[in-house]
Symmetry: C2
Subunit: 706 residues, 2 copies
Amino acid sequence: MAVPIILSVALIAGIISIVLAIIFRSLVLKEDPGNERMQEVAGYIEEGAKTYLKVQYKVLGIFVGVLFLVMLFLLPNMTNPGTLNWEQALAYLIGCVGSMLAGWLGMYVGVKANTRAAQGCTKGTKAGFDVAFFGGAVMGLAVVGVALIGVSIIYWIFESPLVVLGFSFGASSIALFMKCGGGIFTKTADVGADLVGKAEYNLPEDDPRNPATIADNVGDNVGDIAGMGSDLFDSYVASIVAAMMLAAAFGVIGTIKAPFANVTLTAAGTSVFIVTPVVYCGVGLIASLIGIYVIKKKGSEEPGKALNTGTYLATLIYFAFSALITIALSIGLGSEEVGLLWRIWGTSAIGLGSGIVLGFTSDYFTREDKKPTKNIAHAAKEGHAVVILSGFSYGLLSVAPPAIGVILAMTISFWLAGVFGVAMAAVGMLAIVGTIVTNDAYGPIVDNARAIAEQGELGDEVIRTADKLDSAGNTAKAITKGFAIGAANLTVMALMFSFAEEAGITVIDLLSVNVLIGAFIGVVIPAFFSALLILAVQRNAAKMVDEIRRQFEENPKILTGEEPADFHKTIDIATKGSLRELIIPSILSITVPIGVGIIFGVASLGAFLAGAILSGFVFAVFMSNAGGAWDNAKKWIEDGNLGGKGTEVHKASITGDTVGDPFKDTAGPSINTLLVVMSLTASIFMGLLLMFNDGAGLLGNLLTIF
Amino acid sequence: MAVPIILSVALIAGIISIVLAIIFRSLVLKEDPGNERMQEVAGYIEEGAKTYLKVQYKVLGIFVGVLFLVMLFLLPNMTNPGTLNWEQALAYLIGCVGSMLAGWLGMYVGVKANTRAAQGCTKGTKAGFDVAFFGGAVMGLAVVGVALIGVSIIYWIFESPLVVLGFSFGASSIALFMKCGGGIFTKTADVGADLVGKAEYNLPEDDPRNPATIADNVGDNVGDIAGMGSDLFDSYVASIVAAMMLAAAFGVIGTIKAPFANVTLTAAGTSVFIVTPVVYCGVGLIASLIGIYVIKKKGSEEPGKALNTGTYLATLIYFAFSALITIALSIGLGSEEVGLLWRIWGTSAIGLGSGIVLGFTSDYFTREDKKPTKNIAHAAKEGHAVVILSGFSYGLLSVAPPAIGVILAMTISFWLAGVFGVAMAAVGMLAIVGTIVTNDAYGPIVDNARAIAEQGELGDEVIRTADKLDSAGNTAKAITKGFAIGAANLTVMALMFSFAEEAGITVIDLLSVNVLIGAFIGVVIPAFFSALLILAVQRNAAKMVDEIRRQFEENPKILTGEEPADFHKTIDIATKGSLRELIIPSILSITVPIGVGIIFGVASLGAFLAGAILSGFVFAVFMSNAGGAWDNAKKWIEDGNLGGKGTEVHKASITGDTVGDPFKDTAGPSINTLLVVMSLTASIFMGLLLMFNDGAGLLGNLLTIF
C-alpha cells in the first residue's frame, strides 16, 4: 500500500488522541472543584507547579537555544550534505516544543483534576475514579498524540529518519530536565516534609501546618505527571526513530541481516519498513483508546482490576490490529519481504508480551504480600541497618529476572529479524504506552486528591475512598516501571545499533583497548550520575529541613494552626535547588559521549553506549525495586503488622522508605532518560565525531592493534 | 641470559622469603604471651580460628577433589594433546595446597601474635609494634614465597604457562572460599555482637560478657588475615600467569602487537619474555624485604608513617632493581627485543606507580579528615536515612577517580607493549605485594591485641598504646584495598586477553547479539553475587542475634560476669553459616562462565568477562569505599565531634557503619576473587567449550550476523 496512505493511520490516530484529550480535559474542568479550602489548597498546588514549570522552561529555553545553534551551524547536514543543517535543527526545536506542550497539558489538567477527584470521592468511588482517570488520560493521550503527529508529519515532509532523529533529540533533552528536575523537586519536598514534620513534630501526612506539604503535592505533579510523561514521550519517540533509522540503513545496504533469513530489500519494501514502526504505534494508540474506554466502563467498581484489565485488553487488541495492518502493509511487496514483515510483526508482539512480563516481575519484588518485601519488613525488627541491607540485597537480586526477560526478547527478536527486530521489539513494548501513561498519571492525581480531602476536612470516609483509589494505582505504577525500564533498555540497544550503522562501523571489538576503555567509562557513568542526583536530593532536603525548622521556631502560631505556614518559600527552595542541581548531570550527559567519541573514536563510543546501557539497566532496576520494596514494607507495617505504627520496627522501616525515595523517584527513573539522551547525542553529533581521524578519534589509532 | 639462571632469582627470593617467615614466626613465639586471662582469651580465639579452618578445609577437600577429577578426566590436555590432563590437574592441586598452606601459616602466627603484641604494649609502643609487625610479615612473606616457589618450579619442570594456569586456578578456588567464607564469618560475628551487645545491652566493644566477642576476634583472623592473604595470593599468581600466557601466545604468533612498534619475537626472546613476570616478581620480593626491614627499623617511633615509608621505599627499590634485572634479561637479545623489554619494564613501573595512586584515592574517600567522610558524618545529623544516602552517593562517586587511574595505566601500558603491557602493569602493581600484605595483616593483629588487652584487664594506658598501633594500620589498610582492586582489575583484563588468545578469537564484537548478551550477563553477575553475600551476612547475623539474646535471657549471670558466656556456640553459628552460605556463590562462579561459553560461545564468554570486570570494578570500589567512609564517619563522631558518643547523631552513624560492614568486608573484597575465578575458569575449561560448535556455542551461530 502506498506509504502516505498507510502513514495517515498514525497521523489520524494522533489527531483523534489529541481531540479526545481536549474533550477529557473539559469533562474534568466542568466537575465541582469542592469547598473553598480545597480550592485554596488546589490553587497553591497549581500555582507552585506552574511557577516551577515556568522557571524550568526559562532555563530550558537557554539550553535548547544553545543546542539549536550548535546543531544548525556546527553540525554538518547529513541528509543534504553541504547545506545548513536546518531540517534537523528545526525538528529538534519542534521536538522540544512538543515535549513541553505534552508535559504542560498533562500537568495543567492534573492540578485541576485533583481537587475535583477529591470532591468526587464525597459522592462515591465511581465519581472520584472517573475524574482522576480522565485527568490521567489527558496526559496519556497528549503524550502519544503529540509524538505521533510530530513523527509522521516530519517524516512526511522530509522523508528522512535523520530529521526525525532531531525531533527525538528534542524530546529527550526536555525529558532529561523534566525527569531529573522533577525527581529532585519531588523528593526534596517529600524527604524534607517527612524528616521534620513527621519525625520531629509528629504531624500526620499532608498536614496543612507543615510548610512543605504543598511543595510535596506540587512535587507529585511535576515529578510523577510531567516528568514521567516526558520520559515516556522520549522513549516512545526514540524507539520509533531507532527502528526507522535501521530500516533506512538496511535500505541503503540492500539487505536485512538476520540469522533466520537474509532478505534483500526493494525500494518499495524499504519505504514500507521505514514507516512500519510509526504505523504500528498508530495501531497501538487505537488499541490504547479501546483499553482506556474499557477501564472507564469498569473502573468504578474495582479500580485496581480495571486498570490491569485495560492493559491486557489493549495488548490483545494490539496483537490483532497490528496483524490486520500488516496485511495492508504487505500489499505490493514480494514474498520474501512479506515473510520478513510478518516476522517483524512477531518481534513487536514479543516486545509487548515481554513488557507485561517485566511489569510483573517488578510487581513481585515490590508487593507487600510477596516474600522479598515481607522479608525486608521482618529485617526491620533488627533495626535501621538491617532493613537497609535487606532492601539493598533484594533490590540487587531483582535485577536478574528482568535481565533474563530482556535477553530472551532480544534473542528471539534478533533471530527473527536481526537488529531491526530488536528495535521493533522496543516499538512493540511501547505501542500501548497511551494506556500505560494514563494508568500511571492517575496515581499522583488521586494521591493529591487524598491530600486535598485531608486539608479540606472532608472527613474520614472520603479519605478512605481516596485511599482505595490510591492503592489501585500502585500495581499499575509498578507495572509501568517494569515497562519503562525494559522499553528504554531495548530502545537504547536499538539506538546503539543504528548509531553503529550510521557511523559505518561493522565491529565494536572489546579486544581493542580504546573500545574497552569506552565500555569502562560507560559502565561507570550511570553510577556516577545516580550519585549526583541522590546527593542533590540530600543537599536540597537539608535546606528544606532548615527552612521548616526556621518557620516553626520563628512563628509558633504555625504549629497551633492559627497562622498559615509559608508555602512559597519551601516551593522556592525546591524549585531553585532542583534546577541548580541538574546543571552538572545534564551537561555531562551531552559532553561525555561527545568527549569519548572525539578522544577514543566512534567504535569506543559504541562500546560506551553498550556499557552504559547494561550498567544503567542494573542501577535502574535495582534502585526502582529496592525503593518500591522499602516503601511497601513500611506500608505493610503501618497496616498493623509486626506491631504497627509508632514502634521501633516502624521507625526502622521509615528509614528504609526514606532511603528508597530518591532511589525510586529520582535516580532510578532518570537513568532511562540519561541513556536515551546519550545515545541520541552520539547519533546527532556523528558528523562532528567523524571529523577526528575519520571517526577513529584523537587516540583511537594508538590503542588499536594494527 | 639463560632462562633457568634468571628464573632462579625468583626461586631464591621465594626461598629466602619462606626462611624469613619461619624466623619471624619463632621471634613472635618466643615473646611473652601475657597473663593467664590473656592466654585464655587468645586460646579461645586460636581454637575458634582453627576449628573454622578445619571445617572449611574439609568442605574444600570435597570441592577440590571434584574439580581435580573433572580437570583430570573431562578436560582435554592442551599442552600435550591426546594424553590425560595430569600436569594441569596436578598443578591445580599444588595451587590449592599452597594457598591453604600460606593461609594456615599466616593465621597460625596471627593468633599467636595477638596476645604477645598486647603484652608487648605493656612495655611500650615499640615492643607491641614489633610483635604485631613480625606477625603480619609472616603472612606477607608466606604468601609471596609460596607463590613464587610454586610458579617457578612448575614452569621449570613443565615449561608451559598452561600448567601454571592450573596452579593459579587452584589458588583462586581456595581464595574464593577463604574470602567469601571469611567475610561472611567475620561480619556475622561483628554485626551480631554489635546489634545485641552494644545496641541492646550497652556493652562496650570487646566486652568478654558478650558471647560473640570471641567470634568477632576469630573473624578478624579468618576474614582479614587468612582471607585477605589468600585473595592477594590469588591475584599475584593470576597476574603472573596471565602475562606468561600472553608472552607464550605471542611467541607462537611471532609478533608482539603494540601500537608503539611491532616486534617480531625470536625463540630466545619468547622464552625470556615468558619468565619476565616471574623474575620481576622475584625482584619485587627483594624490594619488599628491604621495605619490611626499614619499617621494622622505623616503626617503633611513628608506626603509621613507617608503614607508608616502607611501601614507598619498596616501590623505589623495585624501580631500580627491576631496571638492573632488565639489563640482565636483555643479554643475548636483538635490539628490537631489547627495546620491547625496556618498554615492558616501563609498563610494570607504571602499574606499580598507579597502584600507589589508587591507594591514595581510596584513602581520600575514606579518611575522616577529608570532605566526603566529614560530609557523611554531618549527614548523620539528619538521621539514619540521610547518612545512608550520603555514604551511598560518595561511595558511587569514588568509583570515578580510580577508574580514570586504571584507564590511564591501561592506555599507556597498551601503547607501550600491547596487551602484554597491560598484563605487565598488573604484575608491576603486585610486585611489592610482600610489603602490602605485611602492612595489612598487621592491622587485625593489633585489633585483636587491643581486644585481648581489654579482656586481660591490662589497663587504660596499654589500651591507648594498642589503639595508637591500631590507627596506624588504617591508612595502610585503605591503601591495600586500592591496590588490591586496581591490581585485580588489570589482572582480569589481562586474563581476558589471554583467554581470547587461547580461544583463537581475534574479535569480540559487541554488535553481535550473542556477545552483547554475554556482556549483559557479565554486568549483572557482580551485583547478584554481592546481594547473595550481603543476604548471607544478614541471615546469619539474625541467627547470631537470636543466640546472644537466648544466652542473656536463659542465664542472667552472664551479664553480671559471674558465669562465662558460651563462645563455642556463637563460633559454631558463624562457622556453619558461612560455609553453608558460600555454596551457591561458589558454584555460580564456576558454572555461569561455563554455561555462557557453552550456550553463547567463547566470544560471548569473553564479553561476559569484560562486562563482569567493569561492573565488578564499580561494585568493588563503591562498596569498599562507602563502607570505609561510614566506618570512619562513625569514628570521627566517637572522637567527640557533633556531640560524640551516645547522641542521636552517633546512633545514626552506627547505622551507616553497620550497613558498611558487609559492604567493605564481605561483598566488596569478594568481587575481586570472583572475577579472577571466573576468568580462570573460562581459560581452564577452554577445551570443553571448544567442543560446542568449535567454540561458537549452542546458540552463538543463530545470534551472529553472517
